[in-house]
């Protein structure tokens, strides 16, 4: 599906979306949503027969000074069209977003990893625990303001 076509399709879903624009064309069509609308948009993208993005090939987080972003890379396994959803979480103190485990089972581990390393709480996740680090680990290492005087050597 062409980008413009897909863009129009997404606009018709009735979810508030902005499309990232830059001078250099981005690799994927990138849709930015607020954390509240992310689940609704992804659910539409997966279940709508015109888009049917049935495979989430990557899910990750990024920490910015003012907010945290959760990225969803989605692919349609029939025609290989791809899209990136960026969900913006404003609250860096207690970040929370709805889990997409009900849509993609791979979110089980990926969301636990984001919880582990960024501290984002996923509502409705069946088993939200730390996955890579110890259960009693303090802090969220992939945050930019994370301080660890023992393990991180500043060069």
């Amino acid at each position: 599906m062409e980008r413009v076509e897909l863009q129009n399709k997404i606009n018709s879903f009735g979810v508030e979306v902005t499309f990232a624009e830059s001078e250099v064309p981005t690799q994927f069509l990138t849709a930015e949503v607020s954390s509240e609308n992310a689940h609704a948009l992804i659910s539409e993208l997966k279940n709508n027969s015109d888009s049917s993005f049935d495979y989430m090939f990557c899910q990750t987080g990024i920490d910015f000074p003012e907010h945290i972003e959760v990225l969803y890379h989605l692919r349609n396994t029939q025609n290989n069209s791809e899209i990136v959803i960026k969900a913006r979480i404003e609250d860096r103190e207690n970040p929370a977003i709805d889990s997409v485990f009900d849509l993609y089972k791979t979110a089980d581990f990926h969301e636990r990893e984001i919880f582990d390393l960024f501290g984002v709480k996923f509502n409705n996740h069946p088993d939200l625990r730390r996955i890579l680090l110890d259960d009693d680990w303090e802090g969220y290492p992939l945050r930019k303001d994370y301080v660890d005087e023992v393990n991180i050597v500043e060069l």
């Binding site: 690799q27 090939f57 992939l142």
Partner: protein
């Protein structure tokens, strides 16, 4: 003792068993918490992170050239493809077009890596099921490939052969002869694998119909690579998003529909044949050209996001780089195939026996550093 008391005393009870972190069939430090009802597995809960080295955090401090060297410590059996993923991503960011020579060398080396990974998997899988001979067969043939690697780049396992802009050295003079020798040798030896294992009745009974993963679950869990293709999902990145020289070779994508352990086994055996086909198409006409493009000593990517995926021996490896224009990336994420494939283990193993769990783990071909990163 009354009948009622006897019944109570023999009543089955759920119990927990720790498998690992030190267990031969986990191929590394992976701990599985099994919930058992007798010998039947009712739940598998993987506990990971025993060799988590926070590679993603380290990348944020490193230059792009340094990141490449961290990646072959993830999936050490697909080290060449891991390096290639980062190099392709950086080259995409810098808009460098590598020469045809580099593309062909990378493709040949990738396929050799895939072959050596599958050979090791085959040997180790046999051993998991109690056949020591296969281990020796697999390592005998793998030795020839590691010798080629050693002559080409000095290392046998973590090769570090790729750099942004090309490969580190040109191929040695006898590279083509050596590779052709190996292909001739292995074309004769691969049928032995079938004789020893594939057609063995005990092996067949232990794999056929065991650990079935449906296509829907494979897509939902993101089980890629031969494991996903055995469930009828054609997900080969080499076909859908061709990189390096994969667009100029003719090869079949191996897809089976059964989704059981035996289908995953067959998919890897067939992939070995296909890898040899790919190498044979390329080895005789490696184009002339530079083996390296000149890059600056300090690589700075423009402010951009790049996602590059490659097909490793285990599935789709994705490298996501978020650059803010500095000499080190703002955020790097490795979408490792093993991490997603392990996620589906519970679905595959539930309802089976403990012994089958070992088979299933062998057939999804886990490499723990790839999962933990």
């Amino acid at each position: 003792m009354s009948v009622k008391e006897l019944h109570k005393a023999t009543e089955s009870q759920e119990y927990f068993v720790n498998m690992g972190p030190q267990h031969p069939s986990t191929h590394g430090v992976l701990r599985l918490l099994l919930t058992l009802d007798g010998e039947t597995v009712t739940k598998v809960e993987p506990h990971l992170g025993y060799i988590h080295r926070s590679i993603e955090k380290m990348c944020e401090k490193d230059s792009y050239q340094q990141i490449v060297h961290l990646t072959d410590r993830m999936d050490y059996l697909s080290c060449h493809m891991n390096n290639e993923a980062v190099c392709l991503a950086v080259e995409r960011g810098l808009e460098i077009e590598v020469s045809d020579r580099v593309k062909v060398i990378r493709t040949i080396m990738s396929e050799l890596t895939r072959l050596s990974s599958h050979q090791l998997w085959w040997g180790v899988m046999g051993m998991d099921l109690g056949a020591i001979t296969s281990f020796l067969y697999g390592f005998r043939d793998r030795e020839m490939i590691t010798d080629i690697f050693e002559e080409t780049c000095g290392a046998r396992l973590t090769m570090n052969y790729n750099i942004p802009g090309g490969v580190m050295f040109d191929i040695p003079a006898n590279f083509q002869t050596k590779v052709k020798e190996f292909i001739t040798h292995f074309r004769q030896k691969l049928p032995e694998y079938d004789q020893l294992m594939t057609n063995n009745i005990i092996f067949r009974n232990r794999t056929e119909g065991i650990g079935v993963l449906t296509k829907e679950d494979a897509i939902s869990y993101g089980v890629t690579g031969p494991s996903g293709r055995a469930s009828g999902w054609s997900n080969d990145i080499r076909k859908s998003h061709p990189y390096s020289a994969y667009d100029r070779v003719d090869f079949k994508e191996i897809v089976y529909t059964e989704g059981d352990s035996f289908a995953r086994y067959k998919a890897r055996i067939q992939e070995m044949w296909e890898s040899m086909n790919i190498i044979e198409q390329l080895i005789d006409n490696i184009p002339e050209g530079n083996y390296q493009e000149k890059t600056r000593a300090v690589i700075k990517l423009p402010k951009m996001e790049i996602y590059q995926s490659v097909e490793t021996a285990r599935g789709e490896l994705g490298v996501y780089i978020n650059s803010d224009g500095k000499k080190n990336p703002y955020r790097v994420k490795f979408r490792s195939p093993g991490f997603s494939n392990l996620n589906a283990l519970n679905t595959m193993a539930k309802g089976g026996k403990i012994a089958d769990l070992v088979t299933i783990m062998s057939t999804i071909d886990l490499v723990i550093p790839d999962i933990d990163r």
